[in-house]
């Protein structure tokens, strides 16, 4: 299979000189194109830290991450930002959208940063917002959208840059059951039909049930993998 994410020996240690606290401890993770995977575990298990490291938002204390064969751990900060812009889509738990921009502008914003032509931006915004079922909410600001609708806009925005994969940190945590189901339906459809790779950090049963790969983190270590995943811890 075609590897998208290769995380090697990832550790993240806080207070290394006093009382070291391992947020992530010697984790290997290998994700193939088209995976629909979940990192699960209780609060404080290191899910978000690992996701941030894979997304190039945080630097590991040890180990490195390769995205499509590019070692992003060694990239200088400016190149890393540019790499994120062109290769990684993010969906956060909350505070996801720019409140002063409409749904259309939020999705278009990423493509503006990528300096894509106007025609292409307009076409893609329409395509993505239609795909997430918000074609009639394009000119509405986030405050006028429900939580579920906001997360769907966030998914559309994450895909706007045509990324290699999407990292979603607790995307359903603040949603009611119906909205969460609708959101997961959309992401699953995008995965199935467009082959988009998704990696979730979650402890939401609804997400775990749909994931085709589940890696369980406890105290920073991967303790369990569902069948089909690459062996994940050497500890």
């Amino acid at each position: 299979m075609d590897a998208v994410i290769d995380a090697h020996n990832i550790s993240k240690v806080y207070n290394p000189d006093t009382i070291p606290v391992y947020a992530v401890n010697n984790v290997h993770l290998h994700l193939n194109r088209g995976d629909f995977a979940a990192l699960v575990g209780p609060s404080g298990s290191g899910k978000t830290t690992l996701l941030n490291i894979i997304g190039g938002l945080d630097i590991p204390s040890d180990g490195w991450v390769e995205i499509n064969g590019v070692n992003i751990t060694g990239l200088p900060p400016n190149r890393l930002i540019d790499f994120r812009l062109h290769n990684i889509g993010f969906v956060f738990q909350a505070f996801n959208l720019i409140p002063v921009l409409t749904a259309r502008e939020n999705v278009e914003f990423i493509m503006l940063l990528q300096k894509r032509p106007k025609k292409e931006r307009e076409a893609r915004v329409r395509e993505l917002l239609t795909a997430v079922g918000l074609e009639d909410k394009m000119d509405i600001r986030p405050a006028q959208l429900s939580g579920g609708q906001q997360q769907r806009v966030a998914v559309a925005r994450a895909l706007a840059s045509k990324p290699q994969f999407v990292l979603a940190d607790e995307p359903t945590a603040n949603l009611d059951s119906q909205s969460a189901t609708a959101l997961l339906d959309i992401m699953e459809k995008l995965n199935r039909e467009a082959g988009m790779t998704f990696l979730f950090s979650t402890h939401d049963r609804r997400v775990i049930d749909r994931a085709r790969r589940v890696s369980t983190l406890v105290d920073g270590r991967v303790t369990k993998d569902e069948p089909g995943t690459t062996p994940s811890t050497t500890a």
């Binding site: 540019d82 812009l85 990528q114």
Partner: protein, 404 residues
């Protein structure tokens, strides 16, 4: 898009932004009105003391201004007069023969300045006829005087009464003459109003036994802004026995007063802007604190920190610019009104002003530079205050910011 984002961000907290803009606007309003009033007062002062009497430039016999006696008068020379008249920027000239004298009527005597003038030429420069409150303007051959209102009052005289003038002539002999008061003058400046009398130049020369002589050649300019160029040209062109002085050189105390008052005003404006700066800065700090997560999210998505900093910078500029425009929009009608309805001082304040020879009024002046100067000042403050948020944004770490 970045500018659109910045503009919309300002209005996220509408009340706070409006309060900040109002504070900036009030400061700009206060600053513009203060500067307009002060420059208006100074212009009025120059108009009263300079335009009305000294003119912008005078040519004298060497040493006359230091020792104002007839001995330092000069012989009227057509070549000199023509040279001055032909200097670019000069519109009119007039000759004067001045002498301090005792003015007497009955048992009342007062010291005064008697000025021999060419009535027609004098009027083109100082518009003396416009100050006549009773009687008529002098004719060159009249044997009459125009006397300031305050002086006539102190001597108990009226129009058509006779005034006795007594002084020392050019050759040291006593010079005395009787003149009829042909007109009464009213000056805004109390200094002039209490002690000046005009007679025709020929009469003064005869009275003082100084035929063909003058103490000053007063120069009227096409525009006040021509002063430095005209003064420079005349200083070069005049023969060695004559000196050329600008009004600033003749009355350095006025220049010093203007400079001191201007410095005081700028200190006051500095304090005002300092207070406003804290207001703007606190708004920026609150905005920065509230949006840490958002900045982190934007950076995580791939927005470079310098682009986020540009948005923050644009927000600061928009905020200060809006406040500034508000201040200008509010101040223009106020200044316009004050140009037409000057503030009239009363009581002790009026006395103090009159003692210094100023009219006790505060007229404003409308000059584009006053408005643009304040706008630039506020924008510079905005630029300066934007430095801190920009530094904070440039040091931002996306993960840490999103945790806040």
């Amino acid at each position: 898009m970045l500018l659109k984002l910045a503009w919309r961000n300002i209005w996220r907290n509408r009340h706070r932004s409006l309060i900040t803009m109002s504070a900036i606007g009030s400061a700009v309003l206060l600053a513009i009105v203060t500067v307009s009033l002060q420059q208006g007062v100074f212009d009025n002062l120059v108009k009263n003391l300079v335009s009305l009497y000294t003119g912008y430039v005078q040519v004298h016999g060497k040493g006359y201004w230091e020792e104002q006696t007839l001995e330092n008068s000069f012989s009227i020379n057509d070549t000199v007069c023509q040279t001055v008249l032909q200097t670019p920027g000069v519109r009119h000239i007039t000759l004067r023969l001045e002498s301090f004298a005792l003015a007497s009527s009955g048992d009342k005597t007062r010291g005064c300045l008697v000025v021999g003038i060419d009535p027609v030429a004098e009027d083109t420069i100082t518009h003396l006829s416009s100050k006549i409150s009773a009687g008529r303007m002098l004719q060159p051959t009249d044997e009459a005087a125009l006397v300031a209102q305050g002086l006539t009052a102190k001597l108990g005289l009226q129009l058509a009464d006779t005034l006795v003038l007594l002084t020392q002539g050019y050759f040291g002999s006593t010079a005395a003459m009787k003149v009829v008061i042909g007109g009464v003058l009213h000056f805004g400046s109390p200094e002039l109003n209490d002690r000046i009398a005009y007679v025709p130049l020929a009469l003064a020369q005869h009275w003082l036994d100084a035929a063909g002589r003058a103490t000053s050649l007063v120069v009227g300019l096409e525009r006040a802004q021509n002063l430095p160029a005209v003064a420079g040209a005349l200083k070069k062109a005049m023969p060695g026995d004559l000196e050329t002085l600008t009004w600033k050189e003749m009355m350095p105390e006025i220049t010093q007063h203007i400079e001191a008052d201007t410095a005081g005003m700028y200190i006051m404006l500095g304090v005002l802007y300092l207070v406003i700066s804290f207001g703007i800065f606190s708004t920026l700090l609150m905005m920065l604190a509230e949006r840490q997560r958002e900045f982190g999210m934007l950076n995580a998505l791939g927005m470079p920190l310098h682009a986020i900093a540009r948005v923050v910078f644009a927000e600061t500029i928009f905020l200060t610019l809006c406040g500034c425009l508000l201040g200008i929009a509010l101040s223009y009608p106020v200044v316009w009104y004050l140009t037409r309805h000057p503030i009239e001082l009363g009581g002790d304040m009026a006395d103090i002003y009159e003692r210094f020879g100023f009219e006790a009024i505060f007229p404003a002046i409308i000059k584009a530079k006053i408005f643009t100067d304040q706008a630039i000042t506020v924008l510079l403050i905005g630029l300066l205050l934007a430095v801190y948020p920009i530094i904070r944004v440039l040091r931002l770490k996306a993960v840490e910011a999103m945790r806040k």
